[in-house]
């Protein structure tokens, strides 16, 4: 039986659609022309310009600071949430707990942003890096919890029982058995939280105060008011960094599985 060719064509066309804007952006970042009207020769001028934009570097520093601290805190809270949901799965409290952890994943970002803004305004908290941190922990912890929960679900429970039967205390079991077994889930959850935090714009925009600019907020104001070639160059750098990070993490995980074999 001959198979239809249509699915293949749709797949190829969509891949073209996915890559086209990004490729044009990368090419344009090396374009000497200030406007996107045509190719005027290869140039690194926009990259050099980028070095003289202190605000971008300040914003990048803020983003990193928030991403690292929000990842750390959401890892702790998200992991305890996953353990509770998994360990006490039958209880009514955990059914509610699961719903509560799940809900932030389906709520559109703008609603989370505005509701947190209203909380901070009503409570009189000054908007700034600290409010951004609180908001980031809130959405990151749900992603961490879901990732760790997935890891817990294909877990051999009997190992924990064996440790307890052999006389390990509650704390030793957690430290020596549970945490090492959870490690891949923790790494995956942590990476996810870090990426989400460093990439977030909408929620951050609502709870940011004057002087607490993060990289996405800076990029946004450049898109709205700044010069396009600079954004092209910045995007290309960010893209290269992401590629390097993903390649490195894949290398590590491949090495990890090879070692365990």
């Amino acid at each position: 039986m001959r198979r239809s060719r249509i699915p293949l064509f749709v797949t190829l066309a969509v891949l073209f659609f996915f890559y086209l804007p990004i490729l044009i952006l990368i090419v344009n970042s090396f374009n000497a022309s200030r406007f996107e009207t045509g190719w005027q020769g290869f140039s690194l001028i926009w990259y050099r310009r980028l070095l003289h934009e202190p605000e971008i570097w300040r914003a990048a520093k803020n983003s990193l600071l928030i991403a690292v601290s929000a990842t750390a805190v959401s890892l702790v809270i998200g992991t305890t949430a996953a353990v509770a949901i998994h360990r006490f799965a039958r209880s009514r409290l955990q059914r509610f707990h699961f719903g509560l952890v799940y809900a932030p994943l389906v709520v559109p970002e703008i609603l989370m942003g505005i509701s947190l803004l209203m909380l901070f305004v009503a409570a009189g908290v000054e908007l700034g890096l600290f409010t951004i941190f609180l908001a980031h922990v809130t959405f990151c912890l749900s992603f961490v919890a879901m990732t760790v929960l997935a890891r817990l679900q294909d877990f051999d429970e009997s190992v924990i029982e064996a440790a307890r039967d052999l006389g390990a205390s509650w704390w030793t079991t957690i430290r020596r058995v549970l945490l090492p077994m959870l490690l891949p889930g923790l790494i995956a959850g942590g990476l996810l939280a870090f990426t989400l935090s460093i990439d977030d714009f909408v929620i951050t925009f609502f709870v940011a105060g004057p002087g607490s600019t993060t990289l996405p907020i800076r990029v946004y104001s450049m898109i709205k008011f700044g010069s396009p070639p600079l954004i092209n160059a910045l995007s290309t750098i960010l893209l290269a960094l992401t590629f390097a990070a993903v390649a490195a993490s894949q290398r590590l995980s491949r090495k990890g599985t090879a070692d365990s074999k």
């Binding site: 804007p21 305890t80 509560l100 559109p108 912890l141 396009p228 954004i231």
Partner: protein
């Protein structure tokens, strides 16, 4: 009995950090939105005292109604387009060899490693009056040189589809991979035409993946704010833009709250629909 009690205490202790955090930063803020929607504003951009229905009444203005209608049709159209594109891709990916499967999945995910703002910006450049797409369309005579590709609802739909298509491909692919393709051949053997077999056997077979995919586009599209803000212009504004304008332009938090209440209820509708639908479908099966 004592063991039962210590277990309960331990459960509560382990649950406490996340229950506390999400109560404080998720449940309470959501309740605040509902409460503030019923409060008057004050001239300093804060929240006044007393209660009022004015913010809800203001929602009936023709301007808001037009924006609400546009939000609904842009989201619905983007969802339909995503599904129409994602189903053949999921079907194709489920049938190729394991090696090319991994390769294609990688190709689909890689572009989305870029920041969301940067992808929208890339489209702004492409659709720009001086941009590549416009030039090609004018050269081939598909559009006049006066038609604008940017700053309208069409641009919003295009970029929304671009942004959320991978999130629809993945669940549909996951469902298609579990689908038994011999069923399609059986349908053909029994005389179904190719399209008929596809529509009556394959589509119902991946129903769960389709539902997930629909929610993955529809819900974020309803709450869209950045996409219409960058490529939509005044003719492509959605509810999210109105909320942001009330917050950032005229600092009218109560009005922003009232708009958010509408958005919350709109987003809840498809979610509840799916839950009810699933329950209905599962009940007769559980009786059997």
């Amino acid at each position: 009995m004592r063991k039962e009690a210590t277990r309960k205490i331990r459960e509560i202790l382990v649950s406490l950090p996340s229950l506390f955090w999400l109560s404080l930063f998720f449940i309470i803020p959501t309740l605040f939105v509902f409460a503030i929607a019923l409060k008057p504003g004050n001239p300093y951009g804060g929240i006044g005292s007393g209660w009022t229905l004015d913010n809800l009444r203001a929602l009936a203005s023709p301007n808001y109604l037009a924006v609400a209608w546009r939000t609904l049709w842009i989201s619905a159209l983007s969802t339909v387009l995503c599904i129409v594109l994602a189903v053949p891709i999921g079907y194709y990916l489920a049938r190729v060899s394991t090696r090319s499967k991994g390769f294609f999945l990688m190709l689909i995910i890689v572009p989305f490693w870029t920041n969301f703002l940067i992808r929208i910006f890339a489209w702004k450049v492409l659709l720009h009056p001086e941009g590549a797409v416009k030039k090609i369309l004018v050269l081939t005579g598909l559009t006049g040189s006066q038609t604008s590709l940017l700053y309208n609802s069409g641009a919003v739909v295009l970029v929304t589809v671009y942004t959320f298509l991978p999130f629809t491909i993945l669940p549909i692919f996951a469902a298609a991979e579990k689908f038994n393709f011999e069923l399609l051949e059986a349908a053909r053997d029994l005389g179904a035409r190719r399209l008929q077999a596809f529509a009556k056997v394959f589509i119902p077979g991946i129903r769960r993946g389709l539902t997930t995919a629909v929610l993955f586009v529809l819900i974020p599209a309803l709450g869209s704010y950045v996409i219409p803000d960058i490529v939509g212009g005044p003719g492509g504004e959605m509810v999210g833009n109105k909320i942001a304008q009330r917050v950032f332009v005229d600092r009218n938090l109560p009005q922003a709250g009232a708009l958010s209440v509408v958005l919350i209820l709109t987003v809840l509708a498809p979610l509840i629909g799916v839950l009810v639908g699933q329950r209905k479908r599962e009940r007769p099966e559980s009786i059997l």
